[in-house]
Point group: C2
Chain length 328, copies 2
């Protein structure tokens, strides 16, 4: 198997060049691996997110009016450098500070944390939220953390629209905490991602097996089982999500079905149907649904379910507000 890349070239810079060429509202920040919405109002608090590449369309696809003001990308599955993040913060700050959305990975927290620390020392007000929606790893071991995965884009959209409507840094922090503690995601893989440079699978998956709780950086899942059917899979994942989110009849929820990269759109639709049927059995009120390639892991085949309890009705307005971010 081969993949369509250029050897020795900088795929982050190549993707930025394509995006900037296609979308007039997006510009690159200097020669950094970062883009911004050049049409964003100077009156709003800028929202910054980012992380490793390999998750396309995240995070660049979420830069636009009422979503991210700016996004920065690192190399494949590795965060951007603190010095680059700091430069983006300084570039995008209009005097009111910057709000940052970070995914809960050790390396991401280190680089973003260091940039935030330095920016604050330089007098730039910063608030942030850590996205930790993946409930697949049990926190029995303190080194095993709830990672930030597909649910992160709910933070992008809700906080992005709140900022566009004039929310302060403190208000964004409150909304961010409220959303990030209301979201849970579970994912499975049917085929591991392959690394572009050596074309090797990132983990082993025996024939006919499916892996539960995979990460988006090639981390293997916590359990490998024979695949039975989309229906059985949906049932098992919904049961686990229910244990975490403890819902009752009629509770309003937001639903995301994320294609992790290489699954067919037909699989995505079949699985979405099974998920919706189980949620309907429980009489959950699904107020907003989004499906597709949201946060991927290169060409890994697999799907994830994200559920977010609608704690505040205004979140729905924020989700439904139009945006020109190309991946929303």
């Amino acid at each position: 198997m081969v993949h369509i890349y250029n050897q020795g070239m900088d795929y982050v810079q190549e993707s930025i060049a394509a995006i900037v060429s296609i979308h007039p509202h997006i510009k690159q920040i200097k020669d950094l691996p970062a883009i911004y919405n050049s049409q964003a109002s100077d009156q709003q608090i800028p929202i910054l997110s980012g992380g490793g590449s390999g998750h396309e369309p995240a995070h660049f696809g979420y830069v636009g009016e009422g979503m991210l003001t700016t996004a920065i990308s690192g190399p494949l599955f590795a965060p951007p450098k603190a010095a680059d993040i700091l430069e983006v913060i300084r570039f995008i700050n209009r005097g009111r500070g910057v709000f940052v959305i970070v995914k809960n990975f050790e390396a991401d927290l280190r680089e973003f944390g260091q940039a935030i620390h330095t920016a604050r020392a330089q007098g730039i007000p910063i608030k942030y939220v850590v996205s930790h929606d993946d409930i697949s790893v049990e926190t029995s071991n303190f080194q095993i953390r709830h990672r930030g995965v597909a649910g992160t884009i709910l933070l992008h959209k809700i906080l992005g629209e709140a900022a566009r409507r004039g929310a302060s840094l403190e208000e964004l922090e409150q909304i961010g905490l409220s959303v990030s503690t209301s979201v849970a995601t579970l994912g499975v893989a049917t085929k591991p991602a392959t690394l572009p440079w050596n074309q090797q699978p990132m983990f082993e998956l025996p024939e006919g097996q499916i892996s539960f709780g995979i990460g988006i950086h090639g981390e293997p899942g916590y359990r490998t089982v024979p695949f039975e059917s989309s229906e059985v899979l949906a049932n098992e994942l919904i049961n686990k999500l229910k244990m975490k989110l403890k819902w009752h009849d009629g509770d309003p929820f937001i639903l995301l079905i994320n294609n992790l990269g290489g699954s067919s759109t037909l699989e995505e639709q079949v699985f979405t149907n099974d998920v919706l049927e189980f949620l309907a059995l429980d009489e959950l009120k699904i107020v907003f649904t989004k499906t597709g390639h949201l946060i991927t892991s290169l060409d890994m085949e697999g799907l994830s379910i994200t559920l977010c309890r609608l704690q505040d009705k205004v979140w729905l307005d924020y989700l439904q507000a139009p945006t020109n971010a190309f991946a929303w």
Copy 2:
């Protein structure tokens, strides 16, 4: 490798159930494998398209305001039955007739042709256009035809918006002919699609090789060569498209980069960048670009380039008009 389906179940009906549940403007037509935009005005000519399943988000994803009024799906890679197509035509007709978009495959033409013939005999005015954008098979043999592939969605959008603005059947036919003869598509695969029921690859592709001119129904390409790089690939495809479309400096074109299913979005962006660079070298004026999963072949990894000469500036208005079709 496994795929997330339910054995023995009807994936077309499952996908319709998911789509109808998520999108309030879409309803199923009776118990047919067909959906329609229930908010479409009775004053416009309804636009119908369809074909085999396995190409998701086509065709259901293009049903919405200013795009398809209705779409019908057949089983995997096989067209819907003429009797079902006829029933959809009769259901959607508001007395002014129906405009039909068909992809140029023998079986599709047979089923749609028979339905059109019967509908006309029953007094329903029908005009249609055949989409034949794939230039990968040479027409030296009269049985080998230019197939309808990703360029078909340009017909959906341009004709859909023209119909919404009040175009007559005759005007739609004129626009359809003009668009369909201005489009050319070329695609490559890096991994064949796998059939859901037996998990077998639909053709053989030796390690490290790429297949030129593959079809979207598992048809193997006309030539298999070692893969070199995204840049070399973009150059070769652009040269072939140029021979066909015979452009000059400054000519305005519409560009689609289609992900055929399982390629990573990062590959899509890297390849798009290479394509845009070669088109810029030729000083083509790219007035509209769309990338993503447009018309797929299950989980086949591969990408295609579609170029359409902008013969009429109003096409650009039609393409830029908003739509609630979920895959546009």
